[in-house]
Structure formats: C-alpha cells, structure tokens
C-alpha cells in the first residue's frame, strides 16, 4: 500500500517577505490513490515544486502531516523515504556510466549480487537502454538521458515516483513521445506518482487526476475531463486552455433546465442538474472558442476587433455587446477571412457550455 495523503500541509519559507510573505503552500489536502498518477498544475510560483519537494523530503512542512502507505513520513529524511524522483535537469551523475547510474540506488539496498544485476539489466532492457549501458550520460540524446533518469528512479522499486517538469527540456515532438512512454511505464509498474507541470495539455494527457493550484491553494482536484469541461472556477477555466467567460442573466428556470441570456442575440437553455437558479441572477458561462463557429444562419452577432491568422485556423477576437469573445474558424478557406469592424453571424454549440458555480464572486474580482 502506498497511498499518499497530505493533510493540512502548509509551508512558509523563512525570510520570505513582502508579497511572498504568505504561505508557499496553504493548508493543502490531497490524496494520491495507490497506483494513480496525480498532476499538480498551475502558474509559476503557485507552490507545485514546494508540494512535491515536501513529499520527497527536501522541504519540511511548516504544519500538517504527510503519510505514505499509512506511515507518517513528515519527519523522515529523504534517504529513508523510498521515493524515486525524475528531475527537470535529469540530474544524472556525470562521472558514472549509464549502468553505474542505474546501479547506484540498488547498491544501497544490500541485495545479493545476482539480484542486483538482474534488476539493473531488466530495467535497462525495459527502457531500451542496453546498447548505451556503458556510455557516459553526456553522450546521450535528451530523450535517452530522460529514460536513464526514469530507469534510475524506478529500479529501486520506490513507493512513490515524483516528477518535476521532467519533459520541459525536450523539444515539442519528443516531449509528446516521452510523455506517453512515461505514462505507459507508470501504468505498467503501477507506482503511485506525483507529477508537476505547468503545461495543461501534458497534465490532461498523462494524469488520473489533475490538481490545479494557485497561490499555494488547490483550486480544483478532479479528473482531466472534468477539470477541462466543468471547471470549478474562472481561473481553472482560463488556465486549462482558451476560454470565454461570458456574463449572463438567468431568464427562466424549470425542473430540469435554466435559460440564460448573454446578449441580445445570444441565449442558452442548459440542463441545470441539481443546481438552483433564481430568475434575474447573474451567472458566468464558460464557452470554449472551439464551440463557436461562423454561421450565416446563426443568431449570434459580434463585431470583429482583431484577426490573427494561424495557418490551420483564424483566431477572431470579437466584441459581443461589450464582452470579449474569442473563437477559432478553421473553415476560413471556404468563407473567407473577415475584416476588423465587420459584423459576423455566429452560432454556439450549447451542449458543452458550462455555468461556473456562483460561490466565487470575490474570486472574479481577483482574476480581473
């Protein structure tokens, strides 16, 4: 069992002053179920690395407790925690060969000699590194170095595997391949993992759960699908890719639906689930740009303010009766590219529209 539990973890760095005087991590509660991969996602400085390093044991929480597999490790030193870590810079030992790098941790386990060599060779084989085993890491490509780092981290069979932006040193193509490889190996070995990134698409692709953080606080902890399509806050909606957050007014509501008017030419009727709405109430709706399209028969009308040609599509920034609205047009070769100042007729796919929970009136002020 190696379920990880953070209970009420706070971290204050000594000597931090001014804006940073607050907590780097603020009363964080987080559970990583056995064998799952959880990603911490958030803007720079939100406390992702700090959280990860507290689990590794490099930082001590100012308050709260961390358990791994039911054992309180809050005060256990790094080298007694049995965690594996893959670093952004790979941190391979430059004075050792690939094999020696992988062997290093196994040696410390005091295993019988044959078991040690077995383990090392099987990991090298899994990672397709046998041919490079006797090379110095500096003579490997970025992707190969990455695999050595992973091999070294998993060979000791750690309880928890930690990743701090492991792919950010790779170019875009390799990054996607390594991402899938990492995930495949993590699933195969079934190691409980915590993964830090600030790339939302990476987070969604690799995780069982995505934890979006801001200012040391968890904004949302959910499945990748939910974090994207049912964001808990405007911050999450905007962080998980382009989003229009449109202000609307509840017109009518019945047992199963709610009708919201965004502008004189735009209104949605959406299922309301078990949420209650009052007519006249202000709400905010998340409309992803990919769900708006140019449509000569559409009801919605908006004025073009800026046009950015992107190759595969054209990105329009439009003015929807005072609200900004962005959308993408990948049919431009048929309909032509509109010009600034032109009125466009649009239609919205209402099914994926998401009404933000209303508990964050204050939060809105902060975000703006």
């Amino acid at each position: 069992m190696s379920k990880v539990i953070f209970s009420n973890i706070s971290k204050r760095f000594p000597g931090a002053s001014g804006a940073a005087a607050g907590l780097a991590v603020d009363r964080l509660n987080l559970v990583i179920e056995e064998g799952t991969l959880v990603t911490l996602l958030g803007p720079s400085g939100c406390g992702k690395t700090t959280t990860l390093r507290m689990l590794a044991g490099f930082e001590t929480p100012s308050d709260g407790a961390i358990t791994i597999g039911g054992r309180d490790v809050t005060n256990v030193p790094v080298n007694a925690r049995n965690v594996g870590m893959v670093f952004q810079s790979y941190a391979l030992f430059p004075h050792m060969t690939v094999r020696e790098n992988v062997e290093y941790g196994v040696r410390l386990l005091n295993l019988p000699r044959h078991e040690m060599t077995d383990r090392v060779s099987s990991v090298l084989a899994t990672m397709a590194l046998e041919t490079y085993a006797d090379r110095s890491p500096s003579r490997l490509s970025g992707g190969q170095q990455q695999r050595v780092a992973l091999a070294r981290a998993v060979v000791t069979q750690p309880k928890v595997l930690l990743f701090d932006e492991p792919l950010s040193n790779l170019d875009a193509q390799l990054r996607e391949r390594m991402r899938d490889e990492l995930r495949a190996i993590q699933l195969r070995l079934g190691i409980t993992s915590l993964y830090v990134t600030h790339d939302q698409s990476e987070a969604m692709a690799i995780s069982d759960r995505v934890v979006v953080m801001r200012n040391g606080i968890i904004e949302q902890d959910d499945t990748p699908l939910n974090v994207y399509s049912r964001p808990g806050t405007g911050f999450v909606a905007e962080f998980m890719g382009k989003a229009n957050i449109l202000q609307g007014r509840v017109e009518t509501t019945d047992e199963s639906t709610v009708s919201i008017r965004i502008a004189s030419t735009v209104a949605f009727t959406l299922p309301r689930g078990n949420r209650a709405f009052k007519p006249g109430e202000q709400v905010r709706c998340v409309v992803r740009p990919e769900h708006i399209r140019v449509d000569a028969d559409g009801a919605m009308q908006a004025k073009v303010r800026r046009v950015v040609f992107q190759g595969a599509y054209v990105e329009y920034l439009t003015d929807l009766e005072g609200q900004e609205c962005v959308f993408l047009d990948s049919d431009y070769y048929r309909t032509g590219v509109a010009e600034v100042g032109q009125m466009l007729r649009l239609s919205v796919d209402t099914q994926p529209v998401w009404i933000l929970p209303n508990n964050e009136a204050a939060d809105m002020g902060k975000a703006a």
Partner: protein
Amino acid sequence: MTLVSQATPSGRTGASPAFLRKIVVDPWLFGIFAVVTLSVLVFAALPIFTVLKQAVITDRGFDLAALVDTLSKPFVWESLFNTLLLGATSAVIATLIGFVLAFSATRTTMPGKTFVHAVALLPIISPPFVMALAVVILFGRSGLITRELLGIRNANVYGFHSLVLIQSLAFTPIAYLNIRGMLQSIDSALEDASASLGASRWVTFSRVTLPLVTPAVLSSALLVFVKSVEDFGNPMLIGGNFNTLAVEAYSQMVGYFDLHAGALLASLMLVPSITAFLVHRYWVSKRSYVTVTGKPTAQTIRISGAAVVLPLSILCYAIVFAILLFYLTVIYVSFTRLPGIDNTLTFDHYATVFTAGFQTLTNSLLLAGIATPVTAIAGMLIAYLLVRKAFPGSFLLRWGTLLSFAAPGTILGIGYVSTFNAPPLLLTGTAFIVVAAMVVKNLQVGIEAGSNQLRQIDKSIEEASMTLGASNTRTFFQITLPLLKPALFTSLSYAFTRSLTTLSAVIFLVSANWTLITVTILSQVETLKIGVAAAYCSILVFVVLAILALMQFLLSSTSPKR
C-alpha cells in the same frame, strides 16, 4: 529515523525547529561539521587571539603603561611604516607589470605568448626568497654583475630598492593571473560595439576595457599588498636596515625573547592585512561588472599594429628575461664552487644536500605530503558544508577560515608557539604543529575553488542521490567529491606548492627533529653558504614542477572523455 519520529510524535514540526532538524536528519555530517569547525577555531582563531591577548596583557595583567611604552619605541613605528611603504610600492609595480603582461597576452599579437605565460608563472611555484638569493648573487658585494661585470667594489644590495625589485617580480603572477582572467571573460562584443560606434582604439581601451578590468586591477593590488606585508624571507635576507614588521617581530621573539613586543608587532601586521582583505571582499569584488562564468569567451585579438605591439613585447620580454636571469643564476651558482671568486664547476653543493642536508629535504616533502591531501579534502568538505548545508554555527567556520587566510603567517606562527606549549595542547616541537600550520594557512584557496565549482553543480544531482537512499555523507564522498575534482586538484597543487615553500609561520615551529627546507635555506644564506642554498632552491623548484606536472597528468588522464 525512529529517533526523529519519537522526537515529534504528532508529526508536527513546530516542536523541532528547522535548524535542529538539519542536525537530526544527518548526525554524521553534523558530527563532521562540528569536528571541522572546532579544529578551525582551535588552530586558526585561538592562536590569533592568543597573540592579540599577549600584545595587550603582560604577566602583570593589562598594563597600559607597558603597552604605551612598547608602542612608543621607534622601531615599532619605523617597521610599521616600512611595511606599509614596501607593500604599497610592490603592489603598484607588480600590478602594473601584471597588467602589461596580461594585456599583451590577451589582446595583442605579441609573439611567443605561451613562453611568456610559462615564465611569468615561475615565481608562483618557488619560495619567494629564491629571488633574494639571486639578487645577492648578482648584485651583492661580490656580485656577478656588480663586481665581475661593472667592477663596483662596494655595491650595497641590501635595503628597500632590492626588496621592491624582488617583491614586484615575485608577486607579479598573482596580478597577471587575476587580470588575465578578467580580460578573458570580458565579452569582446563590448569592445566591438565601442569600435562600431566610432571610438578609436585608445578610446575603447580607456573608456571600455580599462573600467571593466578595474576591479581585477584593484583586487590584484590588494592581494599583492597582503602578500608583501606577510613576506618574511625577502626582508630577512635582503632588507638590511630596512626592517619590516615580520622581521622585527621575529627578532624580538627569537633574538631578544621579548614575547610581548613580538606579539604586539605581529598584531600590528594584522591591521593592514585584515583591512586590505575586507576592502577586497566587501568593496572591490562587489564592483565587478563581469560575471565570471569560468568559461573564457572567444576572444578576437584586435591589436596588431607594431606601434602598440612592439613596445609591449619589449617590456614583456624584459620582464621574462629578468625572471629567467634570476632563476638561471640560482641554478648556475648551485653548480659553482664559490661564485664570484672560484667559478669552477662542482657537484659538491648537491652532495652536501643529499648527505648532511638530506633530512631537511625529506622532512619537508613528508610534512608537505601529509598536509596537502588534508588541506585539499578539508577544503572541499568545508566548501560543501558552507554552500550546501547551512548548519547552525556555519558562520564560525566561515570566519575562522577567512581569518586564517587573511592573517599573516608570522602571527599564526607566534600564536602556535604560545598556544600549544602546554598541556592539553602540548604540540611544540612536533611534526603535527607544522602540518597544522601548513593546512590552516592554505585551506582558504581550496574552499574558494570548491565553493565556486559547487555553485556550478546542479543541486538536483545530489538530491537524486538522496532520493535513491544515500545519506548526505555518502552523497558527498561518492557524488560531490568526484564532481569537485578540478577544484580538488587546484587545491592540491596550491597546497603542495605553498606547504613546501612556506616560511613565515613555520620558522617559529621547526625543531631539531623537524626542520624544513625553507628554514635551512635561510640559515645557509645567513652563513654565506650560497652554493648550498642555491642547490636547495633548485631542487625545490624542480620538485614542485615535477609534482605539478604529475598532478596535471593525473587530472587529465582520470577525467572522462566527453
């Protein structure tokens, strides 16, 4: 581990402050830290404070009258003034020479740069007073130049003028290396930019290059000044009536057995040294515009006009000639029966060294051989403790080692004699005390080299080792230390050279059982056995060169090929 969880059963850390936790997490490393810090305090700080105490407190307690009495003696003020005058003059001249050499080597098309470079560094690897010996031989009463060549019968080689000549040449390498490093790390695009804006070569030099190297120039001058204040062998050999503090302190201690006056003079030496050192550390080094990356940027040599290159080359070769002349003279004399009087070739001096004088040679090699690895490994360890682990009490270690570096050898030597002459620290007369002085005096260079290198090593490499289950101590010896190899070798080379050629501190510590080659050379010169002294010097230079070459070979042959 269990200890930790017992200490904080609730899993809260509020009960154990961060600094306590650092200790508990790695008791071994903290143990090493405690031992190292204590050693530095006992062998660096304590002796210096003992001397300071002796300077103001006599057997009758604090005695203001005695203090004022000693302070009002003319030799005190005269030697202080002499020390400062010599230090300032040597600093200015050595820095100028160093600058000319460095500028010519990095910015012009001067021919034979490798040769100039090699010769310019020679003085750094020999005892400074090899120069003094050469000057006596060349310009003395029966000097090869003064008497043989010029027929001057009563040449007076002793005094200020000779000291300035010797120290300027002996300390040139310090300035040369320092300024050269800075010139190399200035991005040449800056000079190109100036030229592209229409500046003439002179304007570029005076408005761009010069201001950028000013910090290195100032720091060189201060370092040479400190070295000059500390120098004992040269003023002793060739100062004549021009007494410096180091010499005066020695004669008060050893000649008149006046511990109080000796201590007071040694304490006075501390003032200019520490002042210069602090100015360097807190003022000059903060004014550096160049971030030294350790990687010299690609340089385009852009001064090739004969009008500039020719005079600079002539100057450089004149300096090179002088240095070579001095060294060759010493080697020549080591093979000469009685220089100036009987110039027949002989191996007698070497025979003397390898028979009657053999023990002092082996002593020196043995003690330096012990001190060298201790200095180097301790230097790396302290660098690691200071840069990577902020244990409570780190400042004691930091300031203890800085103090031992800034303090002149004389005060350290006197301090050792007076601190370790009674139980429980009865060490006078032992080899241990000599080794301790060698280690303490040379520790700081290793610490600096180690710290600089450590800051360039990605911290996560060490963290990776810890997540794999290694303790801090194991991580240091298996990961950090191998990665510090270049700094380790720098420190080994420096420690060996300095330990073998040091004089100012160990002259107070040698005994009948443990005498050292530098001290022997000094007494040979004083008894006018110039030939034997020259033979010792030649052997010393040869041994140092051989060991340095060996270390260079080891470093390059054990480095992984990339």
